[in-house]
Amino acid sequence: MKTIIKKLARVLLTPWRRRYQKRNGIVTNQPRHELPNDAWLGEVSQMLREGKPYAIYVKGYSMRPFIEHTRDRVFLEKRDNYNVGDAVLAQIEPGHYVLHRIIEKRGDHLTLQGDGNLRAVETCRVQDVSGVVTQYIRPHRTIPADDPKLVSRIRLWRKLRPMRRFLLFIYNGIR
């Protein structure tokens, strides 16, 4: 039943999705040369640790609505200290990396969650974090991570966590 509703919503919202994709120059089914995710992110982590800030394309939908799969890039930089609300690149188990947001910090233990995830969280330590998103690079504009509007939106999104399932359902239908 649930999948039927989901599919129906997707079909009904298709015109809006197409318009959105057209406006943002998103081409689906385009062949892309891709490296294995974890190996690539491992290399990026290494670069960040060497003090070389770097912009990467983001794969996956777990940071919706703030980072869109293959449309957006993020500029990552190494910091000495990371705070709640930062989107970070972290190694959550040996050889496995995620780019998720810090939702809790206790001492040097961090809890991470993707903006687009409902329940799944990851834990790691501060030393497993290799960099923080300092700029969100979208097709037509680049937004610094400390942009007040963006910061308040991220805060609002956290507060709306109980409604996240519902909001994402609509969002995923449009996008």
């Binding site: 490296l35 670069m47 070389k52 800030p53 394309y57």
Partner: protein, 90 residues
Amino acid sequence: MKIKKGFELREVCGEHIIVAYGRENIDFNKVISLNESAKYLWENIVDKDFTAETLASLLCQEYEVDAETAGRDAKALLDEWIKVGLVECS
């Protein structure tokens, strides 16, 4: 010609790729994969001033090619690098 600042050759999963780091290269959204001969050339001209002739003579030293072919290949490669914005005129 010179390779732009912040461009670096790295190896991931056996592939030789060029990445561009740093704030000044934030708009560079490509990852470029090099084959063996391009990698050989890259390693020999990194941090140096070079021309298509430099590349051609490097090719002649390492591979068994005649000067004409090497010159043509070097020119094609350099044009490609200029097109994607890997190199700058010094």
